[in-house]
Amino acid sequence: MSTDSTAKTPAPAPPGSKNASGEGLLQLMLDGMRRNMRQYGMLMALGLIVVLFAVWTEGDLLLPRNVSNLVLQNSYILILAIGMMLVIISGHIDLSVGSLTAFIGAMSAVLMVEHDLPWPLAVVLCLAIGAVAGSAQGFFIAYLGIPSFIVTLAGMLVFRGLTEIFLKGQTLGPFPKGLQKIANGFLPEVGPETNYHNLTLLLGFALIAFVVFQEVRDRKRQQEFALDVPPFKLFLLKLVALVSAVLVVTLLLASYKGAPVVLLILGVLVVGFGYLMRNAIIGRHIYAIGGNLPAAKLSGVKDKKVTFLVFLNMGMLAALAGLVFAARFNAASPKAGLNFELEAIAAAFIGGASMSGGVGTVLGAIVGGLVLGVLNNGMNLVGIGTDYQQVIKGLVLLAAVGFDVWNKRKVGS
């Protein structure tokens, strides 16, 4: 484990030598990737899956309408995956989110359909109910020390049961137009008539500008601290790849009906939680309790409070997912959200979380969720039956985590 630091660190890429001799960009790329296998591994896998299905479906996968669909179809799983990532980083698990999603859907229907509450009020109430449900589980886990697996397994049964009780076994709908628009709607059309959706283009370009700014600033800072930065050519390549990926998605969405509203919500969540996990004290504490709980306790981290908050947050995100899901299908059903917890957990692990906690990123959860989402969508398009789909998804999960374990062992960390 603890060998001499100088001996174990991968030797920094021979400075300049290869660069100057112009041995080629490919070599540089391979070197860079090898060193950052864990970061790029899943992103590359996602790219590969996209290309594979794009070819297989003869381009249907990347049709504007389908890309738009992909976002709408996976939004609720992605929302859950963000919360699940936090739960798993903190060293826990949450099996109740699928049932909770259904339960909140049911509550929203009861409030809006049966009692005709105005939808914004109902949404706030539903998020609050989700927070209460999450904090109830968090209380048992954090303060009473009952393993999260047990508590949330109980929650899974309880919330599923409550869903059926409140819905009396029926399907309830339809929802108010305003709420439907959140789950199925697109950003409003503004400005002059072009062939594209203007607001979406604008947002896309803003995102591109932000990404470029961020990357350039990061690189500058790293250089300031005399850190080992990747060669300029590689940096440029990465930048081009990032920008073109954003551009392609933007154009695809803009040439259909524009960016879905949920995409915006997701974007806010990703940026917000990404920032929280990276920069906020609470984020650090989540990594710390997952990475080494006794050490975190002895460092004065209020582990119980942090765990509690992680589950409160998960409850709230499950509520959001429940609302989006119910609104998308314009009905609350007792069978909603089946196996969502498994999809969210799979997304987190494919996206780089570790069973023992302490590792993972919010972006990773999104990448993991997209891997599953594109697989689902692509396999549907080429007409693979759901039977085979499950087998394939299971194997992908196994392969992703297996690769990670193997890679870790090789690096020896």
């Binding site: 001499d4 630091s5 100088t6 920069n279 906020a280 990475g291 080494n292 306790k297 002895l298 209020k302």
Partner: protein, 516 residues
């Protein structure tokens, strides 16, 4: 007397960066009880791991001869087949299986994979009678006390047709009565012709059961003494255990003379803690200590003396069950019920076990350093990564942490550098009182010197330092005052001038009955 049954010749065992055994020779005669004694970290356990095949043949140099045959054990199973059985300090029993099931675990009376319960119970009963344990063999191990569990371990060893029984600090976790029974059992097994090796640093025990004692110090076997010979006194053994010279291994230090009249920076009064599971047992028993600003106060004690338990329970009740006592800072009583409270009162505790209790090994240097005091590099709950990096860079330079960047995961650093990260982390928290638990354990001499220098500087800045260590030379070299602990109780207090290795060791090896 009979000839040697075991000979270990010039054993050398190296771990990456550390030479655990440099030259150990051990000869055990047939039918004797042979004690091995030495300070913590002297190499006793490593030697027994070589003997029992935990460190397989080929991973060490030197020869092991058992019954005049050279041994080439590749694992524990191989050594057990030759009749060498080791009973570790931490018992290896499965708590929710019965006594009988535990005794034959891995060695079941079975036919075609099916257990023969009649034979199992019959044999278990016979073995229990042999070790003098009056329990139903179907009782769960979790339901009997630690002392009885120890006997079950021995019964398990006997079931394997043991010829050489090795006991690693068998009485460390036992109370006086159970210890007495266990020692009697060792003697009665000896009468039946069993050869045993007992690792212990309780001198009264050694005198009671052992025929000869081999002293190990710093990975060398120093000497083998005949315990029954009149010239082998406890003092003679102690001088063998500690007898090394103090070279220039410590920074020049002007001893601190505390001002009279001011209250101590930290005072602990009548602190008592019970074992977290075995709640009858007092792990810390009515301990009172104090430390003043600018002072380095040592706590000496052997394994199980209760030093770490004292420190951890004071630091936010992080160990055991609190059973009484108060903590005062600058003369005022404070609450230290949680770690944040203790840290808030300016107390820091740097653990002896940096891998499990000190560091998040998968995280980077900078994030480990900032964890205890993230508020210092954050505004409104948001960490300023720039500032954090500067703090970490500062420590990397001042503490000489050898790492290419502060973004290196601490799991990849050497022990010495990890320890520097632990210290940096607590220094960054800005405490007034630092409790350092074995701050130099498992690190090389050069890094030790650097850490001593840091500790010295902290005291010079007016911090109060509690220095827990089982290495007497470093306590003598660094401390203004030294307390000794044994079996959970304070057994002595020495000024720098009064303290000597022999005097300290005498108080550290004091067991309850002796101190009466």
């Amino acid at each position: 007397m009979a000839g040697p049954v075991l000979e270990m010749r010039s054993i050398v065992k190296t771990f990456p960066g550390v030479k655990a055994l440099s030259d150990v020779t051990l000869t055990v005669r047939q039918g004797e009880v042979h004690a091995i004694c030495g300070e913590n970290g002297a190499g006793k356990s490593t030697l027994m791991k070589v003997l029992s095949g935990v460190h397989p043949h080929g991973s060490y140099e030197g020869d092991v001869l058992f019954e005049e045959e050279t041994c080439r054990f590749k694992d524990i199973r191989a050594s057990e087949q030759h009749g060498i059985v080791i009973i570790h300090q931490e018992l290896a029993l499965v708590p929710y299986l019965s006594i009988a099931e535990n005794i034959f675990l891995g060695n079941e009376h079975a036919k075609r994979g099916l257990i023969n319960w009649n034979e199992t119970l019959r044999h278990a009963t016979e073995l229990l009678r042999r070790v003098g344990l009056a329990e139903n063999p179907e009782t769960r191990v979790a339901d009997i006390g630690v002392g009885k569990q120890q006997l079950v371990e021995i019964a398990k060893a006997l079931s394997k047709k043991v010829k050489l029984l090795i006991l690693d600090e068998p009485t460390a976790a036992l109370n006086d009565e159970d210890s007495g029974k266990l020692l009697d059992l060792i003697l009665s097994l000896k009468d039946q012709g069993m050869t045993s090796i007992i690792i212990s640093h309780k001198l009264n025990e050694i005198r009671r059961v052992a025929d000869s004692v081999t002293i190990i110090r710093d990975g060398h076997s120093i000497e083998t003494l005949d315990v029954k010979a009149p010239e082998t006194t406890e003092d003679r053994i102690i001088s063998g255990m500690v007898g090394r010279d103090l070279e220039n291994r410590f920074p020049e230090r002007t001893p601190h003379h505390p001002e009279e009249g001011t209250a101590p920076a930290l005072e602990i009064r009548n602190w008592t803690v019970h074992h977290p599971i075995d709640q009858q047992r007092k792990v810390v028993d009515d301990v009172s200590i104090e430390v003043r600003r600018g002072e380095i106060v040592g706590i000496a004690g052997l394994m199980g003396a209760g030093r770490t338990e004292l420190a951890m329970s004071v630091f936010g009740r992080s160990y055991g069950r609190y059973a009484g006592g108060t903590v005062l800072r600058d003369g005022t009583e404070i609450r230290t019920k949680s770690v944040p409270e203790a840290v808030g009162h300016g107390i820091a505790y740097a653990t002896e076990d940096r891998k499990h209790y000190g560091l998040n090994l998968i995280d980077t240097i900078n994030r480990n350093i900032s964890l205890t005091a993230l508020g210092k590099v954050a505004k409104r709950g948001v960490v300023d990564e720039h500032g954090e990096r500067q703090v970490a860079e500062g420590f990397r330079k001042s503490m000489n942490i050898k790492a290419p960047t502060v973004f290196e995961p601490v799991g990849k650093l050497s022990g010495g550098n990890q320890q520097k990260v632990v210290l940096s982390k607590w220094i960054f928290a800005g405490p007034e009182v630092l409790i350092l638990d074995e701050p130099t354990r498992g690190i090389d001499v050069g890094a030790k010197y650097e850490i001593y220098t840091v500790i010295d500087q902290l005291a010079a800045q007016g911090k109060a330092v509690v220095f827990i260590s089982s290495e007497l030379p470093e306590l003598l070299g660094m401390c203004d005052r030294i307390y000794t602990m044994a079996a959970g109780r304070l057994t002595g207090e020495f000024s720098r001038a009064e303290a000597s290795q022999e005097a300290l060791m005498r108080q550290m090896t004091k067991d309850k009955e002796v101190s009466r």
